[in-house]
């Protein structure tokens, strides 16, 4: 009995850590999940049912469009950039500079990024002014920068570098010998990519794309700073649910919206984890 107690004693050292996470991570998550199914303390499905209403569905659809398109743009462009990096000298200055820059830019988001693009393509942005003065075209248009197209453009700014960072290890894992072997057997460049490198890289590529999708789906600050009115995407819908207390006649709608977000991100991240496991079989 005493022996067992003594063996359990070191576990007590975990109490502060677990306690902290309980208060500031688990309880908030539980509050969201439980709150989604409650109203005035009574259990109800009305909040979840409200997710099926027109405005919420519209925001969800736009969110999926934004996430999918920035994930694809980021994956394709970032993939090309990663390939360009791989063809550099392995320890060369160019490669080091590009990977460092990508590491920094992938973390760059939020309000500052929104203002970077307002300064560029906003009503009196530098590029808008330049193009108007020289070519006479009004790039600002009717304010597309502050709606879904603008969000897609701005998100690409951190999605592309993120892709470089997550996809580079997979590209690095492709060995020169494989290409030489394929060539010795008479393969053309197309055949090599189609039948050797492509199938090997595909899981990593799709996995990275999913990661970018989740990253865009969960982003809030950039969109919030860019779009001050209306709720074009789900995170901004959550903002109005939080700030206006009662939305669509439901006080607890915010919890249901947040739950919806958890579910989408969880599905995407599960797919990501499965693909990563597949990639790690041949990588390293």
């Amino acid at each position: 009995m005493i022996k067992a107690a003594r063996r359990a004693l070191p576990s007590l050292g975990m109490v502060p850590f677990l306690g902290y996470l309980t208060v500031f991570l688990f309880i908030p998550t539980v509050i969201v999940v439980v709150g989604a199914f409650q109203d005035d303390g009574r259990p109800t499905l009305d909040n979840v049912r409200a997710l099926g209403s027109g405005p919420v569905l519209h925001a969800l659809r736009q969110s999926l469009v934004v996430s999918a398109s920035t994930a694809v743009i980021g994956a394709v462009v970032g993939g090309l950039l990663a390939y360009a990096v791989v063809t550099c000298k392995p320890d060369g200055a160019v490669r080091r500079a590009v990977t460092s820059a990508c590491g920094v830019l992938a973390q760059f988001g939020g309000v500052m990024l929104a203002f970077a693009f307002i300064a560029t393509l906003g009503f009196s942005g530098a590029v808008t002014t330049l193009v108007k003065d020289s070519v006479g075209v009004n790039l600002y248009g009717s304010g597309w920068l502050f709606d879904v197209p603008g969000i897609i453009l701005v998100y690409s700014y951190f999605q592309i570098p993120l892709m470089v960072i997550v996809f580079l290890p997979a590209l690095d894992g492709i060995k020169v010998q494989w290409r030489e072997a394929a060539e010795n057997l008479g393969a053309s460049t197309w055949q090599y990519w189609r039948q050797v490198a492509g199938p090997l890289l595909l899981p990593a590529f799709l996995g990275s794309t999913l990661l970018l999708f989740a990253n865009a789906f969960a982003s809030y600050a950039t969109a919030a700073a860019l779009v001050s009115q209306g709720n074009p995407i789900l995170p901004l819908f959550i903002r109005s649910a939080l700030t206006s207390e009662i939305l669509l006649g439901r006080a607890n709608l915010g919890y249901a919206l947040a739950l919806e977000m958890i579910v989408v991100v969880a599905i995407v991240m599960t797919g990501y984890a499965l693909l990563v496991r597949r990639t790690s079989r041949w990588l390293r």
């Binding site: 908030p28 760059f108 307002i118 982003s219 600050a221 939080l242």
Partner: protein, 282 residues
């Protein structure tokens, strides 16, 4: 046989140059535009440093800058106090919990910050009740936010030293656990601690989601607020915060490279970001 290879090398070089130039332009133009925009004269001509002067003179802005810097410092302290003893303890005495602690530390990457904000509001009602309504109480949430990044740096640092031998040596010479952690382990993982601190500072200075939705004024909230009245000040403040963050993160990647035997740097991102935010992203 060498001919196709040379042709390919030439093709790759052309591809590389085009890619770097086009994407370089995409990434540089917004930054250059920020410089142009924030120094533009009022009448549409000439240059002025007014918007940059506001960083030092505008009371609201300076207060927000100070709040954010204080938050960054407190978050680093909180992160170190919470994480270092726990991680050392796990490695020495409760190995069975190692996977669990890793999982828990990386969890905030999968739960979007926005979701945590929605659920944490009731918790913050209690925090305000006990500690008052200062913006510095955001520290509690920020420690959770930086957990995954700090964990990665510290984990790499702790893996690089022989923790068991060090602590047994210290213990056999009569050191208590506090001495082991503070005077033996910590001096051995200084570079890991620094990189954990840098990334935490960078994240906290860029944080907007928690502060704005819990109604506290930090740097980013005030920047966003200025956007409605004086966009130039917003842009100059954004650029200043950005450059500061860039410098921190670049220093970080240099630190990461200095560490022996690890190919990846500490800013190896996410199994997400956030940059929302990562974030420096939300």
């Amino acid at each position: 046989m060498t001919l196709p290879r040379q042709r390919r090398a030439r093709r790759q070089r052309a591809f590389r140059i085009v890619t770097f130039v086009v994407l370089g332009a995409f990434f540089l133009i917004p930054l250059v535009s920020m410089v142009d925009f924030s120094t533009r004269g009022t009448a549409g001509s000439g240059r002025t440093g007014e918007a940059w002067g506001a960083l030092l003179h505008d009371p609201e802005l300076t207060a927000a800058i100070i709040t954010s810097l204080e938050l960054a410092a407190l978050t680093v302290i909180g992160m170190v106090l919470l994480l270092v003893p726990t991680m050392v303890w796990v490695r020495l005495r409760v190995q069975w919990a190692a996977r669990m602690v890793e999982f828990l530390c990386l969890l905030p990457l999968t739960i979007p910050a926005l979701v945590i904000v929605v659920g944490i509001a009731p918790v913050y009602a209690w925090v305000t009740y006990f500690l008052g309504g200062s913006a510095l109480t955001l520290t509690f949430a920020y420690v959770v936010l930086v957990l995954p990044y700090a964990f990665r740096s510290l984990d790499a640092g702790l893996s690089a030293i022989d923790l068991t031998t060090l602590s047994e040596a210290a213990r056999s010479l009569g050191a208590g656990w506090f001495t082991v952690i503070a005077r033996v382990v910590v001096p051995n993982i200084v570079s890991a601690l620094l990189s954990a601190a840098f990334i935490s500072v960078a994240l906290v200075l860029g944080e907007f989601t928690f502060a704005s939705l819990l109604h506290y004024d930090n740097l980013q909230v005030v920047i966003a607020f200025f956007g409605k009245s004086n966009a130039k000040v917003s842009v100059s403040a954004s650029l200043a915060a950005l450059i500061f963050g860039f410098v921190l993160l670049l220093l970080l990647s240099l630190l990461g490279r200095g560490r022996k035997g690890r190919r990846t740097t500490a800013i190896e991102p996410l199994a997400v970001t956030t940059p929302a935010g990562k974030e420096v992203k939300g």
